[in-house]
């Protein structure tokens, strides 16, 4: 077997793709080398396919954090504000004009913002640890597909709220959040699809028992997030921390 012109040093130690020839007939001597080269190629192909389709570094800790935020804000809304709709057109603000409805809307927005910032921060940290870039076509797709149902739902909730259907806010936010997760799961961990199905079901069920809808909300956004985040954390992150 001839082995002239051996190519330059093979690995540059960088994580990015270096352009060294692979699988050149003349470079391969033993079956063992063949095997290593082939395995390296397949590994690289797999990584590139993954990187270009799915963002797999979603943080389970962020999910748990979102759950905690949701539990705190549902405590404030239910206990402090006494906001417990039992019908879609719940006349809450007529009963007690002292309560500012903007307080509830603002609290909801702050909760969403905090939860999403936590998710972005912790997922960025995970991606960096794996030597992955954060801002790629994949994460842009993930964000776009997550935000389309979420913003649609948010807008619908506000428009209905404006017309007095404030009791629909809790069920609809669960339903649209579930849809957003299912939509986004095509560009991330497929596990989050199931989280989406759960939120969707909790949201639909809460319409059937309207007087408990705020508790369903606390259950879905709070408890389910805590458990699911913990599950993702144990499954994907524990070993590297």
């Amino acid at each position: 077997m001839s082995n002239k012109s051996h190519s330059a040093p093979n690995s540059s130690g960088k994580d990015s793709v270096s352009d060294t020839p692979l699988g050149k007939k003349s470079d391969l001597e033993s079956p063992k080398q063949h095997k290593e080269e082939s395995l390296a190629q397949l590994e690289m192909i797999k990584r590139m396919m993954e990187r270009s389709t799915r963002f797999l570094h979603l943080s389970g800790l962020a999910g748990m954090l979102a759950g905690i935020f949701a539990l705190i804000s549902s405590y404030i809304v239910i206990v402090q504000f006494g906001f417990q709709p039992d019908t879609a057109d719940y006349p809450y603000f007529l009963n007690d004009p002292a309560v500012n409805e903007w307080g509830i809307i603002l609290l909801a927005l702050v909760t969403v913002l905090l939860a999403m910032s936590g998710a972005v921060y912790l997922s960025t940290r995970r991606a960096k640890r794996h030597g992955e870039k954060l801002w790629t076509a994949t994460t842009r797709n993930l964000l776009r597909y997550f935000l389309i149902p979420l913003l649609t739902g948010g807008l619908l909730i506000l428009l209905l709220w404006e017309q007095g259907y404030i009791g629909l806010a809790a069920p609809l936010s669960l339903i649209f959040y579930g849809l957003a997760l299912i939509h986004a799961s095509h560009f991330s961990l497929s596990d989050i699809r199931y989280l989406g199905y759960i939120q969707l079901s909790v949201g639909l069920a809460s319409v059937l028992v309207m007087d408990l809808s705020m508790y369903f909300w606390a259950f879905g956004f709070g408890l389910v997030h805590l458990c699911y985040g913990g599950y993702i954390y144990l499954r994907y992150e524990k070993e590297i921390l």
């Binding site: 590139m48 270009s52 870039k133 076509a137």
Partner: protein, 99 residues
């Protein structure tokens, strides 16, 4: 033992070309920026490899304007899909043979 390497196409000897084909196989089409981000290579380097793939008829190129800026979309061609799949099969066969 004679190992069959004929199906390992010369075009796929470059890791970058292999990476481009991997990304294009699982995406309908990708633009230059997206490919650059995935592969973490320089503009010139990527352009050269894309040209090689195009010359071999493995990818198709579509130029269009996006927000008044030229945007080039790359997609895998039928020939490219066949060649790349054959390459994957060859790799797998090789591994099986060496087990």
């Amino acid at each position: 033992m004679k190992v069959e390497l004929d199906n390992i196409h010369k075009v796929f000897e470059s890791k970058i070309r292999l990476g481009i084909m991997s990304a294009l196989l699982v995406n309908e089409s990708l633009d230059f920026t997206a490919l650059k981000e995935f592969l973490e290579v320089t503009d010139g380097n990527l352009a050269t490899h894309l040209k090689t793939l195009q010359k071999n008829g493995f990818i198709t190129i579509k130029k269009r304007f996006l927000d008044n800026k030229p945007n080039t979309q790359y997609a895998i061609s039928k020939e490219g899909r066949l060649a790349f799949t054959a390459h994957l099969n060859a790799l797998e066969a090789l591994l099986k043979q060496l087990k």
